[in-house]
């Protein structure tokens, strides 16, 4: 089934920390086709904020046809979303992007999320049918970590050392001697760069979810490109579209 833009109902909204919100949306039939790692575009109802905000899908409830987003308040757009109450409606476009691949049951995966890169890793953790361990990196306050616990082992790292390993996700990996056949990660660019290097050095298959400013969200405007190692099939230059060809890429395919 194809992508669609529609008006949907907010069914739940709650604060997870000072500046992080969780919202459930009654998205209807699109929910059944969502793969972990995909995202939606969320629109402001104020026409002066023209462009959609790309937000990862954090969780789905296929029975209720609902999806969940967890987002940080950054500017006016996300501030507006945080004021939505159950029963309010909001416009979304999705599902967008390609998502993470499925991994055979005999292999093990390290799921690494940093900051606002953590939300998409939750749906992924719930859907993977193989051995999996989550490593979650925070500045200080934790969020979502308990929700990973029913489906995998969870390690946390905080920059201020207030919980888990003091440092970043890779420090937690080293401190706990964690190993796996595959790494899947989402987070800020410096973290992804370090993970790419780590995976390369340790010969681990690695998938990264990237971010860039977007306008169309569907691959038409060429705003959201990242540099690729090889000539990309669509662009015929060393650029792939994060919204359409990503946001998830094999680490060795992209230059970060």
């Amino acid at each position: 089934m194809a992508k669609e833009k529609k008006t949907v109902l907010v069914t739940k909204q709650e604060w997870l920390s000072d500046d992080i919100c969780s919202m459930w949306l009654k998205a209807g039939s699109m929910v059944s086709q969502i793969r972990p790692g995909q995202f939606i575009s969320v629109y402001s109802c104020d026409g002066s904020r023209l462009l959609p905000r790309p937000i990862s899908i954090c969780q789905t409830d296929k029975e209720k046809e609902e999806l969940r987003i967890v987002y940080r308040l950054v500017g006016q757009g996300t501030r507006e979303f945080s004021a939505c109450k159950p029963g309010d409606s909001i416009e979304i476009l999705g599902p967008l992007g390609n998502g993470f691949p499925q991994i055979p049951p005999d292999r093990t995966v390290l799921l690494m999320g940093g900051g606002i890169g953590i939300p998409p890793m939750l749906e992924l953790a719930k859907s993977l049918g193989c051995g999996k361990t989550a490593v979650l990196g925070y500045r200080d306050k934790l969020f979502l970590n308990h929700e990973f616990e029913p489906c995998c082992r969870v390690f946390v790292a905080t920059e201020d050392g207030s919980a888990g390993t003091k440092g970043n996700v890779l420090d937690a990996v080293r401190e706990n001697g964690l190993q796996a056949d595959v790494i899947m990660a989402c987070g800020p660019a410096p973290m992804l760069r370090a993970i790419k290097l780590y995976a390369q050095e340790n010969h681990i298959e690695c998938y990264l979810s990237l971010e860039e400013k977007m306008a169309c969200g569907i691959g038409a405007c060429l705003a959201c490109v990242c540099q690729t190692k090889e000539v990309d099939h669509h662009s015929n230059v060393h650029n792939a579209r994060i919204c359409k060809d990503g946001p998830v890429f094999r680490a060795e395919e992209v230059e970060l």
Partner: protein
């Protein structure tokens, strides 16, 4: 009711087309709108060889608009002819290929390659603010506009639309120059050069520093320039700049546009083009207008 309009002998089923660079070659938005409902699809600018475009970030939102500095990334004419034209040929809509280049010869190369292709019209972009050479350099000086128009016309098999820049003091001077050079139609406006500064990062919001402003924020400027151009030349004018709704499109038509292009609106509403085509028809019905041509330039 008649919604058909004619541009340089090419009949469009309605006046709604896409604005170059906002709609790719139609594949992506084809998932949302039936391209058969559009008067024409105008493709992303294509050059003789592949262009990588500018570094990211390439866009930034501004109040009621956006700034872009994509830098005319495109796969080059070979891939375009092999992949994009056959895709568009499946639909009953006109194909307008937007052409970009760094030198006059670059434009001529592309125009010649398109000579035997099933393309209805060529739109020559001499107004892109985001590339160092070519682009806007051709579009700001009336003498250069006339010269490049003549050169392209000498080699073009299809009728030629010259796409003008709003970044000039007198739009009628460049419009008349395009007419003198033999253009078959004029389209405007391309984006207005703008800048946004990110005060948190204390740097430019787009990597190119400057970019092109588009969207509803520029519409009044665009309507004014379309009006002035329509008064100044005999050529058909294709109007664009901030069209979000059918009402916006009708403003341009009343100001003198024979057809309109919808750009930034697609990012806000992927169904925009088809909705605007339908909305124009609804307006005609409600106003008792039975031929769209009665609306073109009706406000003087």
């Amino acid at each position: 009711m008649n919604t058909k309009v004619t541009i340089a002998g090419v009949e469009l089923k309605n006046p709604v087309m896409t604005a170059s660079g906002t709609f790719g070659s139609g594949q992506e938005y084809g998932e949302f709108v039936d391209l058969n409902l559009l008067g024409a699809v105008v493709t992303k600018g294509v050059s003789n060889i592949p262009w990588p475009g500018n570094p990211t970030p390439r866009i930034a939102e501004t109040y009621g608009g956006m700034i872009n500095a994509i830098g005319l990334q495109n796969p080059g004419i070979d891939v375009f002819i092999k992949r994009d034209i056959p895709y568009l040929k499946q639909y009953d809509t006109k194909i307008i290929v937007n052409v970009c280049g760094k030198t006059a010869q670059d434009y001529v190369d592309v125009v010649q390659r398109l000579g035997d292709q099933p393309v209805d019209l060529l739109e020559i972009n001499i107004s892109c603010p985001n590339v160092k050479e070519g682009g806007i350099a051709f579009g700001q000086d009336p003498k250069a506009v006339e010269a490049i128009t003549k050169e392209v016309k000498r080699h073009a098999r299809q009728p030629v639309i010259m796409k003008l820049s709003p970044n000039v003091t007198d739009i009628t001077a460049t419009a008349k120059a395009a007419e003198a050079g033999g253009a078959d139609a004029i389209s405007l406006i391309n984006t207005l050069t703008g800048m946004k500064i990110d005060i948190n990062r204390r740097t430019f919001a787009v990597a190119n520093k400057t970019g092109g402003l588009s969207g509803p924020a520029i519409k009044p400027v665009a309507v004014r320039m379309v009006y002035q151009t329509a008064q100044a030349v005999k050529l058909p004018v294709i109007g664009m700049g901030g069209i979000m709704t059918a009402e916006d499109a009708i403003e341009f038509i009343l100001a003198g546009a024979t057809a309109v292009s919808v750009g930034t609106a697609n990012f806000r509403n992927p169904y925009a083009t088809a909705e605007i085509a339908r909305g124009i028809q609804a307006y005609m019905e409600s106003q008792g207008v039975d031929d769209i041509c009665q609306l073109i330039g009706a406000v003087r």
